[in-house]
């Protein structure tokens, strides 16, 4: 059964069609890449799934239930977590607090528990902390140890991206939306993260949708690639299939030159 199903979905901002009659499915356990030139609507696509943008028409069905009209926090509670293209950590909170606060919708202690330090409160705090550390240790020693108590703003760029993924993992999602997870990383780091994305599925059981510009990452992680251009799906299928699709090549490189023009160029 499809985990996420997007039916005939459109988003318009004023006269601009950010997404147009989009149909899209993700199956449980799949890693799907969404690619497309700048302005194709990829991030809008994520914003819409996570509830930050309301679609103009169409429907989003997650595990059999519609997500339309839900607040972003409710969408997260249903089990969809995301990262952001331009890293948006809680920069002045510590690394541990970043992953602790992300467990908000999975925990329920309120004022009473905090004021009277009930047993339930204490054990929940401990559990939050433990799970946070567990999530962080997925990235090796980079985000653990003495770093736990450091503010997130002290991390290097690549580590901030890792912490963003950790924070999304901490919300205990079933579907993970990664928005350009390797942007700005060097080849070594991006190769490592590619492997991590694979492990996110095999070890943590997440279904993953990833927006990415780096084609080597796309080739290595994805079961399926969806190409967006001007808010429409122009191709989907395996990486090799999509990479050779003339429409995709056109979207990225432009239309082949007119015959006469080509002729002129050839003669000169």
């Amino acid at each position: 059964m499809n985990m996420l199903q997007i039916l005939d979905l459109s988003v318009t901002f004023g006269g601009l069609h950010a997404l147009r009659n989009l149909d899209f499915q993700v199956e449980e356990g799949e890693i799907v890449s969404v690619i497309g030139p700048n302005g194709a609507g990829k991030t809008t696509f994520f914003n819409m799934i996570s509830g930050m943008v309301t679609p103009t028409s169409g429907d989003i069905i997650f595990e059999g239930e519609s997500l339309l009209g839900l607040d972003p926090s409710q969408v997260t509670e249903r089990g969809i977590a995301r990262t952001f293209q331009n890293v948006r950590l809680f920069a002045n909170m510590t690394i541990l607090e970043n992953v602790m606060v992300a467990q908000h919708c999975r925990t329920d202690q309120r004022v009473f528990g905090a004021l009277f330090q009930t047993k339930a409160f204490k054990s929940e705090e401990k559990a939050i902390r433990q799970y946070g550390e567990e999530v962080l240790s997925f990235f090796g020693s980079r985000l653990t140890g003495y770093r736990l108590e450091q503010p997130a703003s002290m991390l290097s760029y690549a580590n901030r991206r890792r912490l963003e993924i950790a924070r999304a993992m901490a919300t205990r999602p079933r579907l993970l939306l990664l928005d350009e997870p390797v942007a700005g990383m060097n080849p070594r780091e991006s190769a490592e993260l590619t492997a991590l994305i694979g492990r996110l599925r095999s070890e943590w059981g997440f279904t993953i949708v990833v927006i990415e510009h780096d084609m080597s990452v796309v080739r290595n992680v994805s079961d399926r690639v969806v190409v967006l251009d001007h808010g429409e799906t122009i191709a989907q299928g395996s990486y090799d299939h999509v990479a050779n699709d003339p429409k995709v090549i056109e979207a990225y490189l432009g239309r082949p030159a007119q015959d006469e023009l080509a002729g002129e160029e050839a003669s000169s």
Binding site: S73, L115, P151, S153
Partner: protein, 595 residues
């Protein structure tokens, strides 16, 4: 980072910046003229600091050349730059700034003598001229001010020339004398409680201010005490720091218990006036703690916070007073308090619900509106059948606690009651800050959209901040109405909201200790919206000083007197990151962290 050898790459620091000195002397001239025309010298002249040498009036002008000269001479020393040699040029620069200040006053004196501008400038008065010319001729006044300005300017400049130890000692002495003189009422009261009138009789002049001999004694003590106990204190401190964490927390707990016990005993040694003052400070601590939850933790700029104070106060009045016009159940105060807390919490929900849909400036303006609406409702004829309109509600009984009645005529009991509620409020803020809710507030303050996307229900969480803030304000309201015994809409002006906010900002947003310090400094020393502080003479300049202090804080120390770690990190992110980088704590390169 490659280690740079110290000598090879240091850069010569730039020389003395004369343009800056001239700019500062112009600023000094304008400030002196402004202070004089604001009426501070004349208004404050009644209070002396050291009798008969220095009065507060003259001090209000004399600090200008000193502080400005020392500010003008300060220079940022960058990493890798040599520090400039300080020499007589600095003294000359100080003199220049001081002369500038004196020039401002001189021009003012001549103008005051020859023109009459009393209509627009109320303080353009013969008294001002009299004061500025030291009761003699204008020419002499000009000469004297030139000399004084230069001397204080040179002293300010000298702060950079003399060695650090001496500078620190001079400043300690000056500040101790000033503090002891300013805290006169408080100290006299306190020492009287311990039967040590001899000491205060010796140092203080009968009608206010230190005697010369007293000032000298204070100066000697200010130097001697650190010499005698300073080393011992540092020794104890290092010993505590070397202790294991568990033992250290036990030491902290003991310290906390001792200071709490001292605070509980303190009111019995204090007189009426000081107790009254401390009770007022305590009320503002309560209010500021509440606002701190809303502004400091959740980052919601609430400019109408006084509304909750008003609701708390009025509800208590209606429920306890026999004179309540509409509904008068005459409940005992503790019972009423439960209703008050519930009701104010509900009002918090109702005001919060529409407000938190907005952000930033819009939110601030809407809260400002709600603050006024609540006050106008209490004032209105429409509801005067319930709340008495402008006549308010009078004859509110005190708090019957079994062993006695807490009421305004007995400020000691009020202070104790306030103290108990402050402790409760501190506990509430502290526990909530370090809980799931507190983390969610922090996340919202950092980035609301992301917090929402990470599963924090921002609407509920922000509402909760409003409710907690409202409940803490209701404590203050309930105590206020029992203390004063009557309640009127004029006690809940917008100004109160602003002053609470200033207390929070100046003290240190998001920090409990900071908020308490802020209330002590502002409400205790300068005075609240209606209550006088230790410096009663200052009450007419209170708002001017509040404003100046706020501007200065925003420019120089936006994180407040006792800052919250996170906030100062945020406000000084660049410096903070540079420092961390120099200490080698930033992973500039990922490779080396590979394990």
């Amino acid at each position: 980072m490659t280690a740079t050898s110290n000598n090879a790459s240091t850069i010569e620091a730039p020389g003395l910046d004369w343009r800056r000195q001239i700019r500062f002397s112009a600023i000094g001239a304008l400030s002196c003229a402004f202070i004089a025309l604001a009426g501070m010298p004349v208004g404050l002249n009644g209070r002396s600091i050291i009798q008969p040498v220095l009065s507060m009036g003259y001090l209000s002008l004399l600090w200008v050349p000193f502080v400005l000269a020392s500010l003008a001479g300060s220079q940022v020393v960058l990493e890798g730059m040599t520090e400039r040699e300080r020499d007589s040029k600095d003294l000359a620069a100080g003199a220049l700034v001081g002369l500038g200040c004196a020039l401002g006053l001189a021009v003012l004196m001549i103008l005051v003598q020859n023109f009459n501008l009393r209509d627009p400038l109320v303080n353009w008065s013969p008294q001002l001229l009299d004061l500025l010319s030291f009761g003699r001729s204008t020419t002499l006044g000009v000469l004297l001010w030139t000399a004084l300005g230069t001397i204080f300017g040179v002293l300010g400049g000298a702060m950079h020339v003399v060695p650090g130890g001496m500078r620190r000692k001079t400043l300690t002495v000056a500040l101790s004398v000033l503090t002891v003189s300013v805290l006169e009422t408080f100290l006299t009261d306190l020492l009287e409680g311990f039967g040590l009138e001899v000491f205060t009789d010796f140092i203080y002049y009968k009608r206010g201010g230190l005697e010369v001999a007293g000032a000298l004694l204070v100066a000697v003590l200010a130097i001697a005490i650190p010499l005698l106990v300073g080393t011992r204190i540092t020794a104890v401190r290092t010993r505590v720091q070397e202790m294991p964490a568990s033992e250290r927390s036990r030491v902290n707990l003991v310290l906390l218990a001792v200071s709490a016990a001292l605070l509980l005993v303190l009111p019995f040694f204090l007189g009426k006036i000081t107790n009254e003052l401390l009770a007022n400070v305590g009320l503002f601590v309560l209010l500021a703690l509440g606002l701190n939850v809303v502004v400091g933790l959740a980052g919601i700029l609430d400019l109408g916070y006084v509304a909750f104070f008003a609701v708390g106060g009025y509800t208590t009045a209606v429920l306890t007073s026999p004179n309540s016009p509409g509904f008068s159940p005459q409940l005992p105060w503790p019972v009423a308090l439960i209703v008050v807390i519930t009701l104010t919490g509900i009002v918090g929900l109702f005001i919060g619900a529409p407000v938190i849909r907005m952000r930033g400036d819009y939110l601030a303006i809407v809260t400002l509106g709600f603050g006024e609406i609540i006050r106008l409702l209490f004032l209105s004829d429409w509801l005067s059948g319930w709340f008495g309109g402008a006549q308010g509600i009078t004859n509110i009984p005190g708090v019957d606690v079994g062993i006695g009645v807490v009421k305004g005529t007995d400020p000691r009991s009020v202070f104790l009651l306030v103290l108990v509620f402050c402790a409760i409020a501190i506990y509430i803020s502290w526990r909530l800050e370090h809980s799931r809710l507190g983390r969610a507030w922090m996340a919202i303050r950092e980035d609301e959209d992301v917090a929402e996307a990470m599963g924090v229900n921002t609407t509920n969480t922000k509402l909760m901040a409003f409710v907690v803030g409202a409940v803490l304000a209701s404590f203050a309201g309930a105590i206020f109405s029992a203390k004063v015994g009557s309640i009127f809409p004029t006690s809940f002006l917008m100004l109160v909201s602003i002053i609470i906010l200033v207390v929070v900002i100046v003290g240190g947003m998001g920090n409990i200790a900071g908020v308490i310090v802020g209330a002590l400094v502002l409400i205790g020393v300068l005075g609240g919206p209606k209550q006088p502080g230790l410096l009663q003479e200052f009450s007419q300049f209170k708002l001017l000083i509040y404003g100046a202090l706020l501007v200065w804080m925003m420019l120089k120390r936006p994180e407040g007197l006792v800052p919250n770690v996170r906030r100062s990190r945020e406000l000084h992110q660049e410096e903070f990151l540079q420092d961390a980088w120099l200490r080698g704590e930033i992973d500039a390169d990922d490779e080396e962290n590979e394990s």
